[in-house]
Symmetry: C2
Subunit: 242 residues, 2 copies
DNA sequence: TAGTGGTCTAGACCACCTG
DNA sequence: AGGTGGTCTAGACCACTAG
């Protein structure tokens, strides 16, 4: 029961990725595509606005819609919210490379003030605290600390934390999709403790990303900090006006 | 001739900021607000989706719309694309603090391969190269290098670079709004040269933001790198699913 | 069941760009 | 003038949440 505009968006994205049109080339007009896909212009526009937001096309008033030049790169791009879902680390990268995790710590802790505020629970309520080192092609690239709402997900099998995708597990056990992700990006230097976990020198640059993830019913279930090696990650951001 | 949904979005944002409702409180339903503002639900929804994207409300299927808790902070938040326009440094911060610029360099240079590709012009065409140190409350906080398309904006008065807003000047002289901003965020360390310009020690952490800015007709006019003191800036990002 | 947001239709008119 | 995207209407039905 996927929405029609999502289907259309994905269909056209697929066409773009399979080089149906050249980069910079004009694609058919809204009116044409609406007929092709058997929907009204409004529905088609929703699909195209998403494609623009995701950086696949450029829409220019009075001119038409054009394929954006592809951007390839040597480092990993963190999800910036231009995908149609929040993937989480495992799902994000497992098709590009070998990803794995090393579980450093997993315990129940009472939520401190900050964690409680972010997860919208009471201070002192027990939450999962999880620290993992994430590896890409067997090289440690980031440390992630997560505080997870025990009310949403009472038990987390170690197997999931070491091998699987936590987000996938949560979507599966709750039966709800992930709907919202708010994050703050900061720059910092690696200190002794985190550097040791990644086998790098202290003082190397870090991209720190902290954020809260919510389910579609508005429940906050994950508050996390990830400490990324700045030489391994970039974050891309598209902004489209009005 | 502002669009109705933009007006409504701003009106409701203003109501939220003036505490018409408590944080977490339910605001009137789409159907109610549509009547109040004299538009159909579709138009009102466009306004509310923007407010959600900008982080002011949360929309929950079957429940309603709720005011999001305010987020205040001690450092400056760089524009992440949740505002309704790209402001540029001057317009972004001049209402929160005293902003100023120190012009380090302004000359015409032939575009190298990278600059030419980003500005969608031919290699070797002359472009403005501008290096400025930006200050907040008289403290230098970032260095910005800009390459500006001379075809779009032939002359840039020094006065604008030292005192005014370049984006404001460009919107004014071209008569076009800024429509698109694509950026990449990286972490790095300050080297000797940039550190000296900011009067800080080399080796301090930096948030590097590079990007291209376009006008509403699709013309790329600015390719820039900004080197931000990581202790002074954060970047906030909201992602809302589907 | 009643109320909420999510999606979709079949039109219409406006604003912008090009020949 | 003709084609393009941008906005808007007045409905309709669906999916989710609550009491």
């Amino acid at each position: 029961m996927t929405a029609r505009y999502i289907q259309i968006k994905n269909a056209i994205k697929k066409q773009i990725l399979s080089n149906t049109w050249q980069v910079g080339e004009k694609i058919p007009s809204e009116r044409e595509l609406a007929v092709t896909h058997g929907v009204t212009r409004v529905t088609l526009q929703k699909a195209m606005h998403m494609l623009e937001q995701e950086g696949f096309i450029e829409r220019i008033h009075g001119k038409g819609m054009f394929v954006t030049r592809a951007i390839e790169d040597d480092v990993f791009m963190l999800n910036d919210g231009t995908s149609d879902s929040v993937q989480g680390f495992s799902r994000e990268f497992r098709e590009q490379a070998k990803v794995s995790s090393r579980l450093v710590c997993h315990q129940l802790l009472p939520a401190d003030k900050t964690v409680a505020r972010q997860l919208e629970i009471n201070e002192g309520e027990p939450v999962h605290f999880i620290r993992r080192v994430r590896l890409i092609d067997d090289e440690p690239v980031l440390v992630e600390d997560s505080w997870i709402n025990r009310g949403v997900i009472p038990v987390i099998p170690s197997r999931i934390l070491e091998e699987g995708s936590l987000y996938e597990y949560i979507e599966h056990t709750t039966g709800k999709k992930i709907k919202f992700y708010s994050s703050v990006i900061e720059g910092d230097l690696f200190g002794e403790e985190l550097a040791a976990l990644l086998s790098i020198q202290p003082g190397r640059p870090m991209l720190k990303v902290s954020g809260v993830t919510k389910l579609e019913d508005g429940t906050a279930f994950n508050y996390s900090f990830s400490y990324n090696r700045a030489d391994k990650f970039k974050i891309k951001n598209n902004w489209v006006g009005k």
